[in-house]
């Protein structure tokens, strides 16, 4: 079978009296070598592809006090997401009601549907934004497509109990749902109290 034949097949006559040496086979079974070779190949293929980390870009805004540099957001298109402990997510739309009635709790699974729903709602309420559409036209983009979600903004407020994974997950959620405007903001005291009250602290 898997073997290499190096021994010559010629059996030339030796003179009388010369003792015929016992002929050893020179055929080497190469199967174990092939096995080992492929085992190593598999190992190297796996290690080579596994060690390439990917990077997630994060751009933070510059701190500014100038009014014209501040990002403006409409109340109606804002969704505020708070990250609590044990992977809990809290959110409210627009402005937080004084009695906290629009403060809701969900999970990382649920927040995606909420973001999608809110985004659709904002797009449906779009009536036209001349300034933005003009800009988009200049850049050669579809004016409606690039402006319809202009008012949609997600405000992310992680609490001190949120983990780094939660933060990355929510930022990832922005990419997944094509949310173009989002901000990471320090949590306000009233919101913190509400989160803590819900978490039963």
């Amino acid at each position: 079978m898997a073997s290499i034949d190096t021994g010559g097949g010629d059996s030339h006559k030796k003179g009388p009296g010369v003792k015929k040496a016992k002929k050893l086979s020179t055929r080497v079974d190469m199967t174990p070598m092939v096995d080992l070779g492929f085992l190593l190949i598999t190992f190297f293929i796996f290690t080579a592809t596994m060690s390439s980390p990917v990077g997630m870009d994060l751009n933070m805004p510059k701190d500014t006090n100038k009014d014209e540099e501040q990002t403006k957001a409409k109340q109606s298109g804002a969704l505020t997401v708070m990250l609590g402990k044990d992977n809990n997510v809290y959110y409210y739309e627009g402005e937080l009601a004084p009695d906290g009635s629009n403060f809701k709790q969900t999970t990382f699974k649920g927040i995606r549907d909420e973001i999608i729903r809110k985004r659709k709602e904002v797009i449906a309420a779009y009536t036209g934004n001349a300034a933005c559409e003009e800009k988009a036209r200049e850049k050669g983009k579809d004016p409606r497509k690039s402006c319809e979600d202009e008012d949609f903004i997600v405000v992310i407020k992680p609490t001190a109990n949120a983990t780094y994974k939660n933060t990355v997950d929510i930022l990832d959620e922005m990419t997944i749902n094509n949310v173009r405007r989002f901000a990471m903001v320090k949590i306000a005291d009233t919101e913190k109290e509400l989160v803590e009250a819900t978490e039963g602290k």
């Binding site: 070779g37 190593l40 080579a48 060690s51 990917v54 510059k62 609490t159 001190a160 930022l171």
Partner: protein, 219 residues
């Protein structure tokens, strides 16, 4: 009836070319593989849908460990003599009045990772590079806004790479379980130095089905 004699063919396959190819591929992979260097701090990164693969570049890698300890590590390409790293430690020594000796500073570029407050730097640099990787480091203090030592590190690193020949990137590699305030403090330290673009190191995962991104990628 005379039976037709079918010549018996040998089932013996010559596997030599097969072996040749196998070992050719094997040698290719051995040469092409770059092993991950042993990590002094074990970090389990979260996964994200991002697909931008990070290259070896000039970077300040800020690692946030499982217990929210902060470590830094400067990655300089095309800097075999560690000139940039020497510049950083000299800068830190002068600006923070640490009183390090030349020998101690010379060891800085061999340190696998730095995770000590400034007052512990002298002791850390007294170890051999092998030992440095083994000792438990307390992490760079960042949580105190008035004394966020990372600001100084970022500042000196920025200065060392300021000659314009190469861009400096900021990598943040955080553990799943590290707490948000630490991440916020790290970002604040960078923001204080007027740096607003970072790369978060994550593991890769696919876009969830049915979402906007999924539609975009599968057009």
């Amino acid at each position: 009836m005379p039976s037709v004699k079918i010549p018996k063919k040998s089932t013996d396959t010559d596997m030599t070319p097969f072996v040749d190819i196998a070992f050719l591929i094997l040698s290719f992979f051995i040469m092409a593989t770059k092993f991950k260097p042993a990590e002094p701090v074990e970090v389990e990164t979260p996964s994200s849908v991002s697909s931008a693969i990070l290259k070896e570049e000039n970077a300040l890698l800020i690692t946030i460990g499982k217990d929210s300890k902060v470590y830094i590590n400067v990655n300089a390409v095309k800097d075999p003599n560690g000139e940039k790293l020497n510049k950083i430690i000299h800068g830190i020594n002068t600006s923070r009045n640490l009183g390090l000796t030349e020998q101690e500073m010379a060891k800085f570029r061999f340190a696998p990772i730095i995770g000590v407050p400034f007052n512990g730097l002298k002791q850390l640099l007294s170890y051999s590079p092998d030992e440095m990787g083994k000792v438990t480091q307390p992490g760079i203090p960042v949580l105190d806004t008035l004394n966020n030592e990372l600001i100084w590190w970022v500042d000196e690193t920025k200065k060392a790479f300021a000659d314009g020949s190469s861009k400096l990137l900021y990598f943040i590699k955080g553990d799943n379980d590290s707490k948000y305030p630490t991440f916020e403090a790290v970002v604040n330290a960078l923001r204080r130095n007027e740096e607003f673009k970072y790369n978060l190191i994550t593991a890769q995962e696919g876009a969830p089905e049915g979402t906007e991104l999924y539609k975009e990628r599968n057009k």
